[in-house]
Symmetry: C2
Subunit: 134 residues, 2 copies
């Protein structure tokens, strides 16, 4: 067994966001009842942030604006053991402006719900780190 | 966009560990300098715990015994949007007993290092949660 980041090349902000933009699924990491929760989510990179849509009943829908969340995505090729890992840490805010919600919900995506009760959340990319894995 | 856990079936402890045992890579989630860090790692399920090996220079190698870590793995089929997500939260301990280290380092694995300086860490599966995604 080996820590996959043994031989790393650090990625810059731009490379990190470009890699994130190449995959549709990542994980949001946050604290709920003092324990870490990790939730897979569909997302999009939108400028200098990550946007995602959560169902009204989701624990993520109850997170207060300004809460710091981490978002992570990676690609690891299990055979060649190459890939990358990117983490974005930043404050979350709910997108409430109707025009902005509509714009985000119109971003091209594999899967889309038409549930208007969904909350659109934005995680600002305040701290972006990433590594190539080898 | 949709929270992938919109339509969930909760998995029990046994199912969670069985799913984890079916994949070689997951992420360790912990706090470093008050910010969340997410590191992809190779791992194995060993009884009621997750075991992994980290390089001496890794930030994970410096985490004190008893620190609570979260470990996560998932499989998401991006086309059918099905899959699963499992999180294990528990205290980490370094495995220092030589016989136990040797046994763990002999567990069948795709990739193996012979670096004897590596630290073997065990995360006890104190809180195991998982969901089917649909």
């Amino acid at each position: 067994m080996d820590t996959l980041h043994r031989a790393l090349a650090a990625l810059d902000h731009h490379e990190c966001l470009a890699l994130l933009a190449s995959v549709p699924v990542g994980q949001v990491v946050f604290n709920a009842r003092a324990l870490p929760e990790i939730l897979p989510v569909n997302f999009r990179v939108d400028g200098d942030s990550v946007v995602l849509s959560v169902a009204s009943g989701s624990v993520l829908a109850r997170v207060s604006d300004g809460t710091v969340l981490a978002f992570h995505a990676d690609r690891v090729d299990e055979t060649s053991r190459t890939g990358w890992s990117v983490t974005v840490v930043g404050r979350v805010s709910e997108v409430t402006d109707e025009a902005e919600r509509a714009r985000i919900r119109a971003l091209p995506l594999q899967s889309w719900t038409s549930d208007e009760r969904d909350h659109v959340l934005r995680i600002s990319a305040e701290r972006v780190t990433g590594r190539r894995l080898a």
